[in-house]
Each structure stands twice: as C-alpha cells, then as structure tokens.
C-alpha cells in the first residue's frame, strides 16, 4: 500500500513539473524561437543589407547622374559662353578691323581727293598767269570755275527748346532704292540696295572768291570777286593791313617767286567764336551765362545749325611773265568752303554721308593744315581764325597750365606760343582752360591742344606723309580716330612730307561693331535663356531623379517588407514544422506522465525523431508492463493483506470470545469462592487466561505492525512528563521487589516533542517490565537524552545480563532465553520483537547492550521532532 501511494504521489508531481503549460511555453521560446531567430538572422539580415545596398547604389547613381548632368550642362554653357564670347570678340575685332580699314581708306581717299583738288587749283593759277590781266578776261576766267556745294535745309529749335530739328523733312528717299524682291535669283544673295545718297541741297558756287593782278610793287591792278566776302577796292597788298582781314602776309612771298612758281597761302578767315561748347540751346546758353543768340554764335552742325559760319580763303599766286620778265602776279582766292566740302558730308557710319554733321556723336571728319591747325570742323568755333581787327590769329584753346603760363608771360599769344614746345606732354589728364571757353575763343591748334593727346597721335601718324588710326576714349566715348596726310606739296606745303595737312575721321567704335555687340547681346540673351532652360532641365532631372529615388525607396521598402514578412512567415512555418514533431512528442510524454500509460507516439519517420519516438514507445511499453506487474503485485498483496487482516480480526474475535468466559468466570469464582485453595485455583485459571490474552494482544499488535496497519498518531508531548509517569507507574512493582527505580533527564531536552506517545509508552513499558522482572537486586534507571538528531530513552537494569549469543537473537520472536525464564517470569516471547518493530515504525531503533552478570541497557532511539510553533 505504501508503494502504491508513493507511486501515485510521484506521478502527478512529475507531471506538474514538466507538464504541458509551462513546458510547452519553454519549448516555444526555446527551439522554435531560436529557429525563427536563426531564420531571421540568415534571411532577413541579408535582405535588409541588400535593400540598404540597393538603396545606397540607387542614391549614388542618382547623385552621379544629377552631378554629371549639371557638370555637362555647366561645361556646355561655359563652352557656349566661350564660343559666344570668342565669336563676339572675333566679330567685334573683325568689324572693328573692317571698319578701321574702311575709315582709314576713306580718310586716305579724302586726303588724296583734297590734294588732287588743290593741285587743280595750281593748274588754275598757272592758267590764270597766261590770261592777259584785265577785269573782263579775269571774269571770263572765273566764270566757269565753279563747283557744287551741298547745304542742308532750314533747321529750327524744337518746340520744347531741347534740340535742333530740320524745319522740313529732307534726306534719303527709301522708295528710290532698288527693290531686293526684284533682284534676279542669281543676284539675290545679300542683295543690298540703297537710294541715291543725299548730302544736301546742291548749290553751285564759284571756286574763287577773288582774282587779282598785283603789280611788281604790290599794288592790285585788277580785282574781280565773286561775292561780298572780299573788298572790291584795289589795295596795296604790300601793306598787310590792307589785306583780307589784315591777316595776309603774301607780298614778301610773291617777290620771292620765280616764273612758274606758285605761292599757296594758309587758310585765312575770321574767327567765329562760341561761348557754348556743345549743343547751343537756351538751357546751355543760360548755363554759360550768355543771351540765347544762336545766329550770332558759331555754326556747329546739328548743335547749332543756324550759327555764323566760318568763312575763309586760300590764296594761290604766281608771277605773270611777259617777255621773260615778271610783270606782276596773279592771285586766286579759293573759297575755303570748297575745301570743307570734302569733310562736311563724311559720316563714317552706315549712312556714309550726311547733309549736316552731328558733332556730339563723334562720327565726323575734319581737316588740319600743315601746322596742325584745324581748317575744317563740324564746329566752326574750333577753326582758329584771325581777329579781323588786328589781323592776328586768335589765341588757340590751351590747357589750363599753358594758359596760366601764357597769362603769366604777359606776351601776346603768337609771341608766347613761339617759345612753347609743340605737342608737349599731351594727356587726357590735362584740363582745358575754362577762361577761354567763357571768352568763346576755342580754336584748335593741335600743337598746343595739350589736353587732347590724339593731336600728338595724328602728328605722329602724318608727319612723314603717312596715315593710320588709333582708338581713344575721349569725351565719354571710345573713338576710332584716323589721320591721313594730304599729299599736296606746293609752295609752303612742300616744306614737310605732311604736305597740305591731314584729314582725320573720328568714329564711335560702338557704332561700327554694333552688329557684333548686338549679336553678343543676343548671344548673351540666348545663353541666359539656355542657362535658364538648362537650370530648368537640370532641376527637372533632379526632380525626376528624386521622385525616381523616392519611388525606388518606396518599392524597395515595400518589397523588402513583403520579403521580410514572407521570410518570417516561412521561418515560423518551418520552425513550427520542425518543432511540431517535438511538441507532439512532448504532448505524448505529458499524456503518458499524466497516467495515460497506453499512449504511444506515432513513429512517422526513421530519423532521429523517429528513433526517439520508438525509444520512448519501447520504454513506455516496459513502464506499462512494470506498472501492470506492480499493480498485480499490489492487488495480490492487498488481497493477502486483507486476508491477513480478516484473519487477524476473526482470530482476535474468536480467541477473545472463549477467553471472555475463562477470564470472566475465573474472576467471578475468585469473588464467589470462600476456600483459599479454591480461590488459588480460580486465580491460576485467571492468570493463565490473562497470559493467553497477552499473547493474543501481542500477536495482534505484531501482526498489525508487520502488516503495516499500525498507524502512527504523533502528538505534542512533554517527554519529561511521559518519562516521569512511566517511572511512577512501575515504582510500586519495583519497590515490591526491593528495587530502586529512578529517572534521569539530560540537560537541554526540549519542552515538548512530536511523538506517538502511546507507542513510546508501550515500548518503554515493555522494557521497564522486563527490567523489573529480570532484576533481583539493585536498581532500574530510565535515562532520557539527546543523541544528535535523535532522542535516546535508555532503560538499564542490574539484572543477570544477556550472553553474547543471547544478544544476537533476543529480538527474534518467541526467543526466550530459556524455559526457566519463561516459566518463572511469564513473558509472551513477543515483547521485545514487538518493541523493536514499534521502534522501527517510529523511524527509530531499539538496541541492547549487556554484560553477563552486570546488567543490561535497552535504548530506544526515536527522531527528535520538535513541534512546529
């Protein structure tokens, strides 16, 4: 029964320990979790890394493409810019070169034309020398010597007074130009057509304003004039004051002439000043502090088209020879206007010619004499003339420092200027003399015009008869300026290689490369547009790449997520697949442990799992078999036990029933009988019956102990009290035999212990009974002490003791030491056996020590169990 109970207890405990709930959970986080973790690590991690790699590659690709695109665009733009700049620069340079070439050519051609014109005048004077002096002949000579000049029409001040404008439209009539649409196909390419050039209204003018015959004493004998410029009186030209403007000094020169030699004068005219440099308008006049009288101020083209014109002459003279003898001199005074005609209409622009010069834009031609004095200029006040009152040349425009030096010298200007080095350190840094502007005398003599360095340049280019050009920033404009010597070497003009003087043409550089600058501007605009377009495209590309990248990132993230989820699902499935077999097995084991001993695992495979299941199954077979066997053994034992118990119970019953009669009636007999002898008999019957009852009780007890049916009832017990009660219970008995009986309690005994007091009492009673029974002299002692974890209750006597052989068998049943003892002392022969069995039942022991003739000590050891508080 004990075995069964123990088995029964063990099973559920084990099931609880490894049962389904906790065990399965541990499996879940165990193998399955690990498997899933491994799957995740070997699948998901590379997946994530791949995704990361792909993403970074895509991003790098995007960056690279974007960078490349912008680099390409930038380099393309830079190239285009470079090309554009180069093309523009080249175009400008080409146009500049062409323009320079053309203007230089125009300059040279003009100079040559002037020279040819002048040489014609040499011919005229030589022819005139052949003419018999006389008014009629001279008039006849002059009559056909005319030339057409071109004059612009009427100009007037604009209504608002800010500019001069033509009074009536005049100029090109575009309708007169050939129509490019009518050109033959063969000629259509770059068909360029212009209407007739308009340079003003033609006006036929005599070449010479005066023709004279001067006798050998210097007196004019014949004088014929064309207009009112010159005096009609016959004068003595040897007296300078009687000459034109008192300025002519030709008589001394005439006297030096040999026949056929020609004298040519300088340009002589009255200086026309202006106190306004630039446009002569009410505002500028006011600013200059003068009354607005444009007609009284010098003519200046579009700046003052109504002004007073410079009028001058150039006198030719040659001896008149009659009979190899010089009889006088013929002179021809060329109207200076004819010289100016060469430069007045030149416009170094697309318009080529102009009826009126526009000085302010800088595109005009002008002329200088052999001494570098202006003799033709759009602004008449720049032509240094003579003061008609004195016949002296007016002081030319000086720079401030030279002007101050002149003022300081106190000399007349002509005298002062003779001492001055011409072209002295000319520089744009020098300032013009403001006082001369105020005075209105600003004639240009390049030798002293030191704030205008182009003078030195022109001088340099022409002093040896050559020509050329340079570009200078002047009056706020970049100007190309040319110079070409006029190859006319007659008379005083033959003294230098420069000849008559030189032509210069000024041109606004910007004008003639306007096409190029326009195209440069267009190219710039195109580049800006392209740049903008590129920027837009680049931004578009970047946006495309960014959105592509975003899409890629999204797709990548999504696909990675899907893959990760798939991998995890697969991992869970696989882990479940693998662990399902294990969990199935664990379930089976659990059911088996729970008592379902017939449960067997399904052997599905021959692998390790299968072998494991097989091993388990065969183990289960054995367990089940052994359980079956033990179950059978148990039921057999139970049956035997029951039989034994039943037998004990019925034996006890059946023995007690007759004993009842024996003991009862012997007791009654003792009470009823009077005769002591009879009483003795009755007592003997009673005693014998009592002995039989003792045997029966002992046998029953022993049988119960051996059958395991003796149940312990541990109770809290004062062990000292128990021992004391026992000793006092036996004291009477001991004293009756003259024996001392004493109790000894060791120190340190617990106040109370948990023991089955009834059984302990039974054992000690037995021992004390024996001790008293077998001891004739001396004493009996009960000692209670603690031996380690056990309590020792020792009963000692001073009895006969037990032989060593006796000690070996003393606890065997029905082993009484000899018949004598039994007969005399009435033991059942079961007492010590029962005592020892009870001791064992108490988880203790009963041991004996003895010496023959000295006494014996029986010690009961029982576990020391203190009651739980």
């Amino acid at each position: 029964m004990t075995t069964i109970r123990r088995l029964g207890q063990r099973c559920p405990r084990r099931v609880r320990r490894t049962g389904e709930g906790m065990g399965l959970k541990r499996w879940m986080v165990g193998i399955r979790g690990k498997l899933i973790a491994i799957f995740v690590i070997i699948k998901v991690l590379p997946l994530l890394l791949l995704a990361l790699l792909a993403w970074s590659m895509a991003q790098r690709l995007g960056d690279t493409v974007s960078l490349q695109a912008s680099t390409m665009a930038e380099s393309m733009l830079a190239t285009i810019k470079q090309v554009g700049e180069a093309a523009t620069g080249d175009a400008i340079k080409a146009l500049d070169d062409r323009a320079r070439e053309a203007i230089e050519r125009l300059t040279t051609d003009t100079a040559r034309s002037v020279a040819a014109f002048l040489y014609d005048r040499d011919s005229d004077v030589l022819q005139a020398a052949q003419v018999e002096p006389g008014e009629a002949t001279y008039r006849s000579f002059l009559q056909h010597r005319t030339r057409t000049l071109h004059r612009h029409g009427e100009w007037k001040l604009s209504d608002d007074g800010t500019r001069w404008e033509p009074a009536a439209p005049a100029g090109w009539d575009e309708a007169l130009a050939a129509s490019p649409q009518q050109a033959l196909i063969d000629n259509a390419k770059s068909f360029s057509a212009r209407p007739p050039e308009y340079i003003g209204r033609p006006e036929i003018r005599p070449l010479f304003v005066e023709m004279t015959f001067v006798d050998t004493r210097g007196r004019e004998r014949v004088k014929v004039g064309a207009d009112g410029l010159m005096s009609r009186e016959l004068r003595d030209v040897s007296d300078a004051s009687q000459t034109f403007l008192k300025a002519e000094r030709y008589w001394p020169e005439l006297q030096k002439l040999k026949p056929g030699e020609i004298y040519v004068s300088e340009v002589i005219g009255a200086y026309v000043g202006s106190r306004v440099v630039g446009a002569y308008l009410p505002a500028s006049a006011k600013k200059a502090g003068v009354e607005f009288k444009p007609e009284e101020s010098a003519y200046a083209g579009t700046e003052n088209p109504v002004g007073k014109r410079f009028r001058g002459i150039v006198r030719w003279a040659t001896p008149v020879v009659r009979g190899g003898k010089i009889t006088g001199y013929v002179t021809l005074a060329l109207d200076h206007d004819h010289i100016r005609e060469f430069t007045d209409h030149i416009s170094p622009t697309d318009s080529r010619y102009s009826s009126i010069n526009d000085a302010i834009v800088g595109n005009y031609a002008f002329m200088w004499d052999h001494r570098s004095r202006a003799i033709s200029h759009p602004r008449d006040y720049f032509i240094p003339g003579y003061d008609p009152k004195t016949g002296e040349p007016v002081t030319p425009w000086l720079d401030q420092s030279l002007y101050e030096a002149w003022q300081a010298s106190g000399k007349p200007s002509r005298e002062f200027l003779e001492t001055v080095t011409p072209f002295d350190a000319q520089s744009l840094k020098k300032k013009p003399a403001g006082a001369q502007v105020k005075a209105g005398t600003v004639g240009l003599d390049c030798r002293y015009l030191n704030f205008s360095p182009q003078c030195a340049g022109w001088n340099q280019l022409t002093e040896k008869g050559g020509s050329g050009s340079f570009v200078i920033f002047f009056s706020g404009l970049w100007k190309l300026t040319t110079a070409a010597a006029i190859p006319y070497y007659t008379g005083q003009y033959g003294l230098t290689q420069r000849g008559f003087g030189f032509i210069t043409i000024g041109a606004n550089v910007d004008d003639f490369h306007r096409a190029a600058t326009d195209s440069a501007t267009r190219i710039g605009l195109t580049i800006a547009e392209m740049d903008k377009a590129f920027q837009g495209q680049r931004q578009g590309l970047r946006d495309d790449i960014a959105s592509n990248l975003a899409q890629t990132a999204g797709a990548l993230t999504l696909s990675t997520l899907v893959m990760v989820v798939l991998v995890i699902i697969v991992a869970i499935w696989m882990a479940q697949f693998i662990t399902r077999r294990i969990t199935t097995m664990i379930d089976g084991l659990g059911r088996f442990q729970a008592g379902e001993l017939s449960y067997r695992l399904e052997v599905r495979s021959s692998d390790e799992m299968g072998q494991l299941a097989q091993s388990f199954n065969s183990m289960a077979d054995e367990v089940q078999l052994s359980f079956k066997r033990s179950e059978e053994a148990r039921s057999r034992a139970e049956e035997a036990n029951k039989l034994k118990s039943d037998f004990l119970a019925s034996m006890s019953h059946e023995l007690r029933t007759p004993l009842n009669g024996i003991l009862g009636y012997s007791e009654l007999l003792q009470l009823e009988l009077e005769d002591p002898a009879q009483q003795e008999f009755a007592a003997t019957i009673h005693s014998s019956g009592q002995h039989l009852l003792d045997i029966v009780n002992d046998v029953l007890d022993l049988a119960k102990v051996e059958a395991g049916r003796m149940e312990l009832k541990p109770v809290e017990q004062d062990i000292a009290r128990l021992a004391a009660d026992l000793v006092s219970a036996h004291r009477a008995h001991a004293q009756a035999k003259g024996l001392a009986i004493e109790l000894t309690l060791a120190d340190g005994l617990p106040a109370s212990v948990m023991i089955d007091a009834q059984r302990v009492r039974q054992i000690l009673n037995n021992l004390l009974n024996n001790a008293i029974k077998f001891t004739e002299n001396g004493r009996i002692d009960l000692r209670v002490s603690i031996k380690g974890a056990r309590m020792a209750l020792a009963v000692s006597d001073t009895g006969p003791g037990i032989s060593p052989e006796g000690l070996g068998v003393i606890f065997e049943r029905f082993r009484q030491l000899d018949r004598f003892i039994t007969r005399d002392h009435g033991g059942t022969g079961l007492g010590l056996t029962l005592a020892r069995e009870l001791a064992h039942l108490l988880e203790g022991d009963l041991v004996v020590e003895s010496r023959l003739g000295e006494g014996s000590t029986f010690t009961l050891f029982i576990p020391l169990r203190e009651p739980h508080p």
């Binding site: 004990l648 119970a649 006890s652 019953h653 059946e654 023995l655 007690r656 029933t657 004993l659 009842n660 009669g661 024996i662 003991l663 009862g664 009636y665 007791e667 009654l668 009470l671 019956g689 009852l693 029953l700 119960k704």
Partner: protein
Amino acid sequence: MSESSASTSKNVLVVDDNAINRRLASAFLARLGYATDQAEDGPSALAKLENGRFDIVFLDISMPGMSGEEVLAKLRTDSRFNGLYVIAYTAHALPEEKQHLIDAGFDDLLIKPITMKAVEAVLPPR
C-alpha cells in the same frame, strides 16, 4: 453499594448468541445489582425491548441472522427507544473495529474478555 442500588436498579438486557457470554455478563451485572434479562439474537432482543422496559442493552455484534449493528440501527430509528443506553458487548478489539462501532452509534463499548472493573466502567451513572 450493590445493596443500595438494587432497589433502584436499572433493567439491562444482555443480547448475545453465545450463552456463556450472555450468562457471564448477566452474572457480573447481577453482582453489580442490575436486573437483567437475556436475548439470544437480534429479533428476540428487539421483541423484548419492545415489550419490556430496559434502560441499558449489552448488545453483541457478531450474531447469526441479525448483527448487533442492525439491531442498533433499528433501535436508533425508533423513537420509543430514545434514551436507551446501548453498549456494544463484543470481542472485536481491533482499534478500527472499535472506531467503527462508536461511529455506528453505540453509547459505549465493552470489549471481551470482560472484567468486573470494565463492566462497572461502561455502565452509565445511576
């Protein structure tokens, strides 16, 4: 004590199939001054109890036909026998047997073999 008690003696019915034991108990009771009657089985005991007037019953357990427990069961379910002091008079001495009898409703147990002292001890106070 026995003299004085005789006049006010209580009636005891001793029931036992074993005549010796029946007479022994009656003898002991008589010596103790109780008036006794005897029955040899359950049904006759019940009949006597129904007809006579008894205060105490010494009831054997192992009897052929009707056991002492069955007799007790009948007595305990019959209100006429309220207050009847029933003592098991038995040789069943094993502890579990004794417990069983106490549980069955006996007022006390008198285990065979009996002594005068034991009989005196189980009898309720007069």
